[in-house]
């Protein structure tokens, strides 16, 4: 249980949000030219990091906007929040 600082609404309980998984997975530019292996990588394979992970969240029970979160998955502490399209913090 933790708070997420929605960039549009401010601090809200995590239960108001929907986790959208790993962030910055780029959709293939030429889907028709992808091999089966490349599709598997894009669709299914995940880093599933124990530690600092970049991920997407949606404020489903609030503003319903998507944004990115940098979170330590080993203790659920949030390091940074940034809007879609913004450069990820380093």
């Amino acid at each position: 249980m933790f708070l997420i600082n929605c960039p549009f609404c401010g601090d809200r309980e995590q239960s108001e949000f929907k986790a959208g998984g790993e962030a910055h997975i780029v959709r293939p530019k030429q889907p028709t030219e992808l091999s089966d292996d490349e599709w598997a990588e894009y669709l299914f394979m995940r880093k599933n990091i124990k530690g600092v992970q970049f991920e997407r969240w949606n404020h489903v029970h609030g503003c319903r906007k998507w944004f990115n979160v940098v979170r330590d998955t080993s203790n659920d502490q949030i390091k940074a929040v940034y809007k879609m399209g913004e450069k990820p913090p380093t």
């Binding site: 998984g21 299914f44 995940r46 880093k47 599933n48 998955t73």
Partner: protein, 417 residues
Amino acid sequence: MKNQYSIFSLIKNAFSYHENWAKAWGDPEPKKEYDILIIGGGGHGLATAYYLAKKHNIKNIAVLEKGWIGGGNTGRNTTIIRSNYLWDASAGLYDHALKIWEGLSQELNYNVMFSQRGVMNLAHNLQDVRDLKRRTHANRLNGIDAVYLNTEEVKKFCPIINTSPDIRYPVLGGTLQKRAGTARHDAVAWGYARGADEMGVDIIQNCEVKGIKRNGDTVEGVDTTKGFIKTKKIGVVAAGHSSVIANMAGLRLPLESKPLQALVSEPVKPIIDTVVMSNAVHAYVSQSDKGELVIGAGTDDYVSYSQKGSHDIVEGTLNAILELYPIFSRMRMLRQWGGIVDICPDASPIISKTSVKGLYFNCGWGTGGFKATPGSGDLFAHTIANDEPHKLNAAFNLNRFVSGDLVDEHGAAAVAH
């Protein structure tokens, strides 16, 4: 077996106040090299080592456990065992395990307290009814015992369920697998550990794997907190931490690790003599031999290794429990905990070779791995020993995510994941 447990050994040890029982397994320092290393000393890992030694006659094996054996998900699950899965591949896999469960205490000379008290799955809406009926037919075609029950039959089988049509999620029916049930989860790890140790397997606790050394496409060994250990074959059975180990070997897996919660109540006299699972409202309940209600909740939807989980998940489960079993309204909960489960996109496990020679993964069991422990160990041992999957786990390879031949048990497996 040198320390056979029996009524005679019990009497003999009673004379020395039970202070001189031999240790069930040793505490060795790791050797420099093993034929096979198993990473993960939970039920699945220990069972793998046990069957490698017993059925494949490979004795130079070590099980590396970063904490203590059975201290991970083996000791955190709600101990439910069943095999009523929809698809043929899953039915074969889980019923293979169930058949081993039926003789496991005798085989291990260790009481795993396997209790075939039945598992009932409830339907709360018309789609549930259709899905459960379909699954009942599929189960019976695969030789797995399953019956569909209407509301009255559900009430008769488990009288404390509230079958009033007025509740938010009324009970419209259910399925029953009578051969299903529960087992003592710790005893499974301990029994396999004792059996494996007896055959010469080294069980090394407090030994965390820090890296996997590869030479090109072949494994050479692992770096651990107790030094480098050389080996030709590595079987990874690390549950929620499978991706962490995979990343060490430079691989990615189709897994997400999430907290799954459970809780137990104060102990009370016998009140529920079966296991009742409810997919739609995500509430599972049974009663342990100590008398505690054992309640399973759902997973959080975000990746986390924190072994905690969110309060609202528990609250949602207890809301459902109270509506279905009003008699529990004044029960007090004693403990709540989380385990980290590794979930595959198709909610089926992976028991497979990888692109790295000598590196094998047994993972992706998600929210329901305990039931498969003996079968999983047996089939993974076969896969490692022969460098080929057994026909029962051939469908559960990593390549299915490339070929698209998924074993989609999401929802169809009688529980939501």
